[in-house]
């Protein structure tokens, strides 16, 4: 009888631990198998000065398999890209399809799915000054790529969100919307 009582009281203590604060993570059974010994992406790395595992690449380094972009982030670079930069991709259905997909994720929120400058942010009154592609008849493949890469005026750079190939696919789709 006495043992039973002890057991029951012990379980009360255990059970009362059931309530937990949802802003804190739960306890783990084997933390040494849960927590990674290698550095996690975005995790801590106390060896580095700023303690971050994710470091910006040193200036001038080129990632494997990538080509540096040769036009400057200023108006001369823009003009030069507009004149000289050519798309390495051929226009075909597959490229256009992925261009459309990427455009609808990364550009349509401002430029609208039809490229008419009436994206949801504009309609909601959050962002203004987005042009319809039709009102910019002078844009070329090169200039569109340049604008995706560096941004222009109020539009920010989208280089970090799209790979080189995806940017060119988006360029194709923008041209399609512009000429529609």
């Amino acid at each position: 009888m006495y043992r039973l009582v002890v057991l029951l009281i012990a379980s009360i203590v255990l059970l009362s631990a059931c309530s937990r604060d949802r802003s804190k993570p739960n306890i783990q059974y084997t933390p040494d198998m849960y927590v990674s010994i290698p550095y996690e992406p975005y995790g801590l790395n106390t060896v580095m000065n700023d303690s971050m595992a994710a470091q910006t690449p040193p200036a001038g380094s080129i990632a494997r398999g990538k080509m540096p972009y040769r036009y400057d982030n200023n108006n001369d670079g823009y003009e030069s890209a507009k004149e000289n930069l050519q798309s390495p991709l051929e226009t075909n259905a597959e490229n256009l399809a992925n261009g459309k997909k990427m455009f609808n994720i990364y550009c349509a929120i401002c430029h609208g799915e039809q490229g008419d400058g009436k994206g949801k942010l504009v309609e909601n009154g959050k962002f203004f000054g987005v042009p319809a592609f039709k009102d910019r008849p002078y844009i070329t493949d090169g200039s569109i790529y340049h604008v995706i890469y560096y941004g222009r005026n109020m539009m920010g750079s989208h280089a970090s969100q799209l790979t080189e190939k995806e940017r060119w696919q988006v360029v194709q789709y923008v041209q399609k919307l512009k000429n529609k």
Partner: protein, 399 residues
């Protein structure tokens, strides 16, 4: 003295008549142009670079009509490149604003420009405001399940109470020498306790409902729900990489360079000032100076608190699920677009993974892997689930 006063009176009168005349003509002119139309044009065409009272990429445009003639403005709008070369004042402005050339707007007519000028003269106050912002209706919003997830066991106190009652009953019966009843109740009691004990042990290491407080009160509902920004706009590496990616602050700045204050609906205990201060944290992180409209300092990454994490002994890849399988983010993460503060929706247990692998049929038709490389496989395995394709092999996830 007298004479001087008289002269004053006469000149004052004259000045009054002339100014009223001047203003009359001026307002007559302004009446022809429609500032409301001007505002619309201004918002769609000019606001990327100009505001009324603040310097942006170009100069502030409040009361430009006092500084420049209509012809001047029209030339600048229709063909800025040429005008900057011809006109010394325009050239001076061009030099002053970092030689950023103005975008030409040949499509704007003389009348359009007059409307815009009218708007810059009267400003927002001069226009009868219509309520533009219609409240958005998000499907499923207001679903009580996700509104405010209380701790699941918030009324946990009844559990020890039940146990105590059992003890009391068993003790009482034993004292009364009611042995059979005492043992009967004791057994029920032990099973009940075992049940709860087991339930408790099972949830160790499971973080469903984990909802940490983040360094910035970033609302997924406002961004992904109300404003409809695609998940992948910010979590852009989900399509190519193992991790879905926490956006670096430059991605925030794509919109927040422009959006300096919170105009949405306030929620919780917060007011607009609170949210404006949260946006200011983004500027601090990016090293952006709002008044100078430029990046002025180094910036400092935001230390977000991780919500979802899998144990180190299991492998999971986002691109495989997002890109190849074509899953919606919500399949695993739940209705994030309805959560202000994100919480873990799925248990992320092995049982949960396996159940989905058992039930999900592989889409072999739109998948290059099966269409091209393994056509035979595609034919042989029509209608196969992930499990049939080896999705339950230990080594698929544990290695």
């Amino acid at each position: 003295m007298n004479i001087v006063q008289k002269r004053n009176l006469v000149s004052n009168l004259l000045a009054f008549v002339f100014t009223t005349l001047f203003f009359l003509t001026f307002s007559l002119q302004a009446q022809e142009a429609d500032p409301a139309k001007g505002k619309e044009l201004f918002m769609t065409n000019c606001t990327a670079c100009h505001q009324l009272d603040a310097k942006l990429i170009g100069p502030p445009l409040k009361n430009v009509a006092e500084r420049r003639s209509e012809e001047w403005i029209l030339s600048m709008v229709n063909n800025p490149t040429e005008w900057v070369q011809k006109n010394p004042e325009a050239k001076k402005l061009f030099e002053e604003y970092n030689k950023t050339p103005m975008t030409p707007f040949p499509q704007l007519t003389k009348e359009d420009v007059q409307n815009i000028i009218a708007y810059t003269s009267v400003g927002d106050e001069g226009i009868a405001v219509e309520a533009v912002a219609t409240p958005l209706v998000v499907p499923g919003a207001g679903n009580p399940i996700y509104q405010d997830l209380k701790p699941q066991n918030s009324n946990w106190w009844w559990q020890p109470l039940v146990v105590l009652i059992f003890i009391a009953v068993v003790y009482f019966l034993a004292k009364k020498k009611q042995n059979f009843a005492a043992i009967f109740f004791a057994i029920i009691g032990v099973f009940t306790v075992a049940y709860f004990l087991f339930a408790y042990l099972l949830q160790i290491g499971v973080d469903t409902g984990y909802k940490p407080i983040q360094p910035i009160e970033f609302s997924h509902k406002v961004h992904a729900g109300d404003n409809g920004i695609d998940c992948e706009y910010c979590h852009s590496s989900a399509k190519h990489s193992k991790t879905s990616g926490i956006p670096s602050t430059n991605v925030c700045m794509n919109c927040h360079k422009f959006i300096k204050e919170y105009k949405g609906e306030v929620y919780g205990d917060y007011d607009k000032e609170f949210f404006d201060a949260e946006i200011a944290k983004v500027y601090e992180s990016a090293g952006w100076d709002v008044s100078k409209f430029a990046y002025t300092s180094e910036g400092k990454p935001i230390e977000w608190t991780r919500v979802h994490s899998l144990p180190d002994f299991v492998f999971y890849n986002h691109s495989q699920h997002v890109n190849v399988a074509g899953l919606e983010c919500q399949t695993c993460h739940g209705p994030v677009e309805e959560m202000h503060r994100v919480e873990q929706f799925s248990p992320l247990t092995m049982d949960w993974c396996i159940s989905c692998h058992r039930d999900t049929e592989v889409n072999m038709d739109d998948n290059g892997y099966y269409r091209g490389t393994y056509e035979a496989l595609q034919k042989a395995h029509k209608g196969a689930t992930v499990a049939d394709m080896g999705g339950l092999e230990c080594g698929k996830c544990h290695y």
